[in-house]
Symmetry: C2
Subunit: 229 residues, 2 copies
DNA sequence: CGGGATATTGATTGATTTCAATGTGAGTGG
DNA sequence: CCACTCACATTGAAATCAATCAATATCCCG
């Protein structure tokens, strides 16, 4: 568990010019994180960094799951992303973190000083290109998310979420969701009630099964995908 | 009009480590675009590149306004961004463009081969860091947009849009919108009717005035800003 | 002075939120 | 081991906001 290598996962295409080039471009980041000391253990719901704090470190998930979120002035909470093992967070930031990061469940993370990474990037083009590639990946993810939150019924959002989680966590058709309904709701910009209702509706339609509230069996991925369109 | 310098505008903080460093980091991109030949003239509503086409070039707006959008399978259109003079587009892409780019009004753009930019970035850290900074800016813009489209009433969306456009185009309180109501609607994920109704409602509330349908006077920016929260 | 695109306004419908109550499951202490 | 409790989740009824359907108005241009 400890000191497991951080592998940067790409959700899509590299920002430019061919996958091979970009994959190798990301390696130096992996190496940078490997230089880190002992992983940090974070208890469920504990904060890793807070919105507005000076952004000193970037992090990589080793085990567990991390969520980044913003809390709006009206009390609403918007979750920006769920980070799984191998994924990096805290890199998008100015001088201050724009999000709060918390552990969804007991987790371990590694970290690296952002100033060191920046210094590296000044002289090492591979690192700089890796950072670009990472930002571009995130950009694409967010563009898709924008579509989903813009035009996207509750069903489409939930279906998309299930497929996303399935694609990221398992090869089988059974997903164990590490996060609460509230987390899902805040990620999809829905209410907890709507998420719950939608899941039961999908169960009714025999598209999914819910053996336990956090265990989802995708019986009909094709139908789920069709809900996205 | 022709060969006007492309200045990369930052909407927010640089991706890391201080504004000064990043501003200078972006200069090489400016230079790269300056190497370009004669600007391309694009008529209103003409396509600059299409979703799915090989992404050979990146572009900078010299004059006019450009919109990038996706058309969904259900016929809906989602506008991703409006690009004003000095801004760059077409850089976020894999091998294929993820969006269609069109001129909102008669415009001129300059362009540069992406492969050349990539080659430059391989050896010139300043260019690579500039590309990172650009992606990070875009990332922040999109994160804010995600919030808006997630939780955000029609009023909040329209108010936010007016403030955004005002901030980008004018020093005064009068904004001349270059795009149609349909464009605004597709940008904010609303219907044209809702945009229209919301504008008239804001007029009623004496927060804005509408001398002409595309000319908006922001009488009460504070109230508009409060609608965002 | 048409004529077509663009924009506004009105009436109705529908999906999601909100408010409210009930159900379920895991952990604790008697 | 069972009852209790608290957090989490589901279900129901009503309210709300934006979408839809439909008509009218305005502007620009030939």
């Amino acid at each position: 568990m400890q000191n497991q290598a951080i592998t940067v996962r790409s959700t899509g295409q590299p920002p430019g010019f061919g996958a091979a080039a970009s994959l190798s471009a990301r390696r130096p980041l992996t190496d940078a994180f490997a230089l880190t000391g002992a992983p940090l253990t974070v208890a469920k719901d504990a904060e890793i960094f807070g919105q507005g704090e000076p952004a000193e470190y970037a992090y990589g998930v080793v085990s567990g799951v991390v969520r980044t979120h913003k809390t709006l002035s009206d009390g609403h909470r918007q979750i920006n992303a769920f980070l799984l093992p191998g994924e990096i967070f805290g890199l998008d930031a100015g001088d201050e973190h724009r999000f709060t990061a918390e552990a969804v469940c007991d987790s371990t993370v590694v970290f690296i000083k952002r100033s060191e990474l920046a210094k590296l990037a000044e002289h090492d083009c591979d690192v700089a290109n890796g950072l670009w590639a990472l930002a571009a990946d995130e950009l694409r993810r967010l563009q898709d998310r924008t579509l989903l939150l813009g035009h996207g019924s509750a069903q489409e959002r939930v279906a998309s979420f299930l497929l996303e989680m399935a694609g990221r966590t398992t090869q089988s058709d059974t997903v164990v969701l590490p996060m609460s309904r509230q987390d899902i709701a805040d990620y999809l910009s829905l209410t907890i009630e709507t998420v719950s209702r939608t899941l039961t509706a999908l169960g009714h339609a025999e598209v999914i099964r819910l053996p336990e509230s956090r265990t989802v069996q995708l019986c009909n991925k094709a139908a789920l995908a069709r809900l996205n369109s």
